[in-house]
């Protein structure tokens, strides 16, 4: 995975994160931090129908994040897929490192795993809140 940690996809989403910001009247929110590097994310979700995120549909998502390129890029890609209805509630709970690697088009070293999982964890935390 030489020189491939920073694909154009990562850099593009890092420079221009999609759906960044706050959501008016979210139904679910959650924050996650990575104490090792100080990366932070807060996600806002609007979920329709279904309690506890179950059997519901994510109508909209926004997030505020600070951190490294990998964590921001993953947040942006996930948010974009959710907004485009390409990613459903049932799917986010089952996503793993390898799914995100596929989305990014690169392999991630174990040391950076927490960076790419931060936003996914925040989304799942919000959905189960």
């Amino acid at each position: 995975m030489q020189q491939k940690n920073y694909s154009q996809i990562v850099l593009d989403h890092y420079r221009n994160p999609r759906n960044f910001g706050k959501l008016k009247e979210p139904t679910h929110t959650a924050e996650e931090v990575n104490p090792l590097c100080g990366d932070e994310i807060k996600v806002y979700l609007r979920v329709k129908n279904g309690k506890n995120g179950k059997n519901g549909k994510i109508e909209d998502i926004r997030y505020e994040a600070r951190g490294c390129a990998l964590s921001i890029a993953v947040a942006s890609i996930l948010a974009e897929r959710i907004v485009n209805r390409e990613l459903r509630i049932e799917e986010t709970g089952k996503m793993e490192k390898s799914d995100i690697e596929q989305m990014l088009g690169i392999k991630i070293s174990p040391a950076r795993e927490s960076c790419i999982l931060l936003s996914l964890n925040a989304i799942n935390k919000a959905l189960s809140s």
Partner: protein
Amino acid sequence: MFNSNFPILKRKINGRRLVYLDNASTTQKPQNVILAMTDFYEHHNANIHRGIHTLSQEATQMYEGARDKVQKFINAKYREEIIFTSGATEAINLVVWTWGHENIKRGDEILLTEMEHHSNLVPWQILARKKGAKLKFIPLNETWNLKLETLNKLITRRTKMVALTHISNVLGTINPVEKIIKAAHKKGAMVLIDGAQAGGHISVDVQKLGADFYVLSGHKMYGPTGVGVLYGRKEILENMPPYQSGGHMIRSVDWQNSTWNDLPWKLEAGTANIADVIGLGAAIDFINKVGLRAVKNHELRIMNYVLRELGKISGIEIYGPESGKDRIGVISFNAAGVPPHDLASILDQRGIAIRTGHHCAMPLHRKLGVESTARASFAIYNTKSDIDALIKGIKYAIQLFCS
């Protein structure tokens, strides 16, 4: 210098020559350290002390020989002032939970600095909370040195302990510990110096410094992990209760009571980390062979070169003293537009090892106003071409992220 002594430097990382700039975390080990430990296990392995058989006597001699090497290395007056621990962290905890537990009372003050590593902060926090004592901190000035003018006000009659780092693991600042020790002693306070970043970089003379306690980390000075040193003045150590108890630290044991062994063994319970202590002894041999003066001059040259080259890149913020004279060993920085973790990944792809994060100094990073920094740190084997590789890598990362 001396690169051929370090087998690991022959390694390729991601197809590139290894450029190892994470020495403040742990240094690489010279061949003689690796051989000393292998030799012990292959030819002399036995438990030490009280053994009548040949191997045990050899092992004891080698282990206690390492103690003599440490004594000379930091110029301690007595060999029994050298206590082997599992590392600098345990050495500080030993002082906190023996001396501190006995001597710190409600209302007492413990004075630290704003640049302490968590290992010289958290143990004191726990002790202070338990005892109802107060922690105070010597602040930093705008050049990232300690504000010495605050000392007189900060050290009071209530100050029982002043504990500070000799060299900052983030800023590289060399603290004027001799001055601070004098000021503390004037008010009757004890002083502990955390020498984790000083050992193997600058010469340390505990008698000249007048330190009551001095702490070393073995693996940050070319030795193995799992071994550190607590130096303590003999009369203080003699009055301290044991830290851990069990085998080896006793003189005689009854069903109900026990009496303690002499120093240094009173404070070394259980079977010692024999091979690693012998490895530390070999590391000191290596440092002595190179010569601390040569080490310091080499690192000063490297530091000046880094400062100059990094300073040429726009958007680089350097944390720590501006002059190479006031700092040694480490340089923390951030490149505008490139998060430190991404910088580290990009450098790693080019075979360059640096560290990023808060470097176990979260309160200091809050003071710096950043969550994390990138840190390059140096040792005897680093060369100008290592620095050239680092600078080239940083420029590449900036171009990748900011174009």
